[in-house]
């Protein structure tokens, strides 16, 4: 492999990694507060991509307005999802909520099949992003650069919200100790709603950029990336936002480089994440950056 090829793969891996990181953040934020695997998160991601498709194809909005609008609507869907599928089960056992999450994911997938149709749709890429640029012999699609830049920008915004605002402080308090935080007068419902909105918004941005990178939309497109991003969150240490980002990059880079160095294993690309997950769970179940939790009797 020449250096040029290697740089191309590296750039690809970084951009895939930042997509994974964006989606993984939604999982980790929800898990941190509610201890729930939001199985429907991957389908929220799919919804974001589809809504953008419809906003661009059926209205005359400029693409940036369509992107922002679709991401905001997807955020609202995430907010509604929590109200309908998870809030009634706030005090139920965790497995009950998990089954409800599975049901919600199943619903969104089939709903999308009915409403959007099972046939793949071509994502309308804004022409400004569809350029090939050439840096020192390495020719790379412009979007490969845009994705990490947008990803890092959103991360900076999220970090600001979590560490510098009152809402963020409440989120951190809830994930540290749910019951005590509630006693301190934190409006739990409001914080959870905001968490779902932010997580779904980020997933939608991820979905839009996924659509630009791999311009084929299908109702089931969210299921595999969804599971992989949850794995990314677990690898980094679930509940920890920098962990989710780290996990996303490890997974994205790992996948691309695996296929690049060992082309014979291309078919096993989807298995890579699961194998990594199982190794991590067995060696360090709390993830790379996770804290150890001891069980009290």
């Amino acid at each position: 492999m020449t250096l040029v090829e290697f740089m191309q793969h590296l750039a690809n891996g970084v951009s895939l990694g930042s997509l994974y990181a964006l989606i993984a953040i939604g999982y980790t934020m929800v898990y941190g507060i509610l201890r729930l695997i939001n199985f429907a998160h991957g389908d929220i991601f799919m919804l974001g991509a589809y809504l953008t498709y419809y906003a661009i194809v059926f209205t005359s909005m400029p693409w940036y307005v369509a992107f922002a609008l679709a991401a905001a609507i997807t955020g609202l869907v995430g907010f509604l999802l929590e109200k309908i599928a998870y809030k009634p089960l706030r005090d139920a056992q965790r497995i009950t909520v998990l089954i409800s999450a599975i049901g919600a994911s199943f619903f969104l997938q089939n709903f999308a099949t009915v409403v959007f149709g099972g046939r793949p749709k071509a994502f309308p890429i804004p022409s400004i992003m569809n350029k090939i640029i050439n840096i020192g012999g390495v020719s790379i699609n412009l979007i490969t650069f845009i994705i990490p830049v947008i990803g890092l920008g959103l991360l900076a915004g999220l970090t600001y919200i979590i560490y510098k605002t009152k809402t963020g402080m409440a989120m951190r308090a809830l994930s540290k100790d749910y019951d005590t935080a509630r006693l301190m007068g934190i409006n739990v419902d409001r914080i959870i709603s905001i968490t779902f909105f932010i997580g779904s918004f980020l997933a939608a941005v991820g979905g839009i950029m996924w659509g630009i990178k791999y311009p084929q939309l299908m109702p089931l497109m969210g299921s595999m990336p969804g599971i992989k991003c949850f794995i990314a969150a677990v690898i980094g240490g679930i509940g920890n936002i920098s962990g989710a980002v780290l996990g996303g990059f490890i997974l994205g880079l790992g996948e691309i480089l695996l296929v690049a160095f060992l082309p014979g294993l291309t078919g096993y690309r989807d298995a890579f994440a699961f194998i990594l997950l199982i190794i991590i769970l067995l060696v360090k179940p709390t993830g790379l950056l996770g804290e150890k939790v001891t069980e009290k009797v």
Binding site: I95, I99, V114, G118, F274, L281, L282
Partner: protein
């Protein structure tokens, strides 16, 4: 009153409800087998398979409290084992046209029963090998790890061209599976489950579900019982997968996606977690219902107006039911009925 409660009841292992259920089912199966048309017989056959699947899910999730999402994977192992062992050598050559099958399996042609048992045993072996490391995890982590293994099995089956024929799948599997076969297996599963759960192993499983730490301090070997429950459950899933393969006649890796596991979870949840009789009934109802709901996918002609069919509507309704049941029954969901 107090004395009544203290009096040790001499418990029959198969209680009256279970016996009634078995009797009714036996009559129903015989009636369907002799008198019903092919369509009903197909559904009845499928019902038997789902009873076994529902019970196997119940064993690991409902009784032992381990949230495992790996059923589709174990079914795939059973289905492929039975298919590869029973397809005739001539048909194998036809199936594997991209890449010939590995030589040591090329001329194999077993009869149905040994192949089915082999399918169960292989699924159990994989269950044991996977369970031993993974069952140290709890709750969500276990769910995602077992789901991961099921996906790995599917990805491997998609890529091992000379063993499983990859994404092309296998065709011309002899259609051994009859109502009789799937219901014999279903009856055996019911009786096996009742005996297992009423016995000391079952008591240990339930104790683990109720409180792991308390169970451990009572001297129950957590690891041994968890692996045992997981292995039994995989065995049953493998057998059901084998029946499914010979019932359908064709299989491919995409059949064994997580959606299949979700169906079984719905059966378990509707039947009441930890409830054997309920699971049997809900398996039959859900399977029949899925067939009846097919009308939603095809167009309906009401004479004056023709409603176009909406492909996929069936599954939308299906998932709404799953969520409604969970939300409405949230408190009773995990208690033993």
């Amino acid at each position: 009153m107090a004395e009544d409660r203290l009096k040790v009841e001499k418990e029959r292992i198969l209680d009256r409800n279970t016996l009634i259920l078995l009797g009714v089912l036996l009559v129903a199966v015989v009636v369907v087998d002799f008198f019903a048309n092919d369509h009903v017989r197909t559904i009845a056959n499928l019902c038997g398979i789902y009873v076994t699947l529902g019970l196997s899910m119940q064993l690991i999730n409902g009784f032992t409290g381990l949230f495992s999402l790996g059923h589709a994977g174990f079914m795939a192992i059973g289905a492929y084992t039975v298919a590869i062992l029973t397809i005739s050598p001539a048909n194998k050559e036809m199936n594997y046209f991209l890449e010939p099958i590995v030589p040591f399996l090329a001329d194999v042609e077993w009869s149905f029963l040994p192949a089915l048992i082999m399918g169960g045993i292989l699924a159990a072996i994989f269950g044991f090998l996977i369970g031993a490391p993974v069952l140290r995890l709890t709750d969500d982590y276990l769910a995602i790890a077992t789901l991961g293994f099921a996906e790995i099995i599917r990805v491997v089956f998609t890529n091992t061209q000379s063993l499983t024929n990859g994404a092309l799948g296998l065709k011309a599997i002899p259609k051994f599976s009859t109502i009789l076969w799937s219901w014999i297996v279903a009856f055996l599963s019911i009786v096996f489950m009742v005996y297992l759960i009423r016995g000391s192993y079952g008591k240990a499983f339930i104790a683990i579900k109720e409180d792991e730490i308390a169970a451990r301090s009572m001297g129950i070997n957590l690891f041994k019982h968890k692996v045992m429950s997981f292995t039994f459950s995989s065995f049953m899933a493998g057998i059901a997968g084998g029946l499914m393969a010979t019932h359908l006649g064709t299989i491919d890796p995409n059949m064994f996606r997580i959606a299949l596991t979700f169906n079984i979870i719905l059966i378990m949840v509707l039947g009441g977690i930890g409830n054997i009789n309920g699971t049997v009934i809900s398996a039959i109802i859900v399977t029949a219902f899925m067939e009846i709901l097919r009308f939603l996918d095809s167009s309906i002609d009401l004479g004056f107006i023709k409603l176009p069919g909406i492909p996929g509507m069936r599954m939308v309704i299906f998932s709404i039911i799953l969520m409604l049941v969970v939300i409405v029954r949230k408190d009773r969901l995990l208690k033993e009925n």
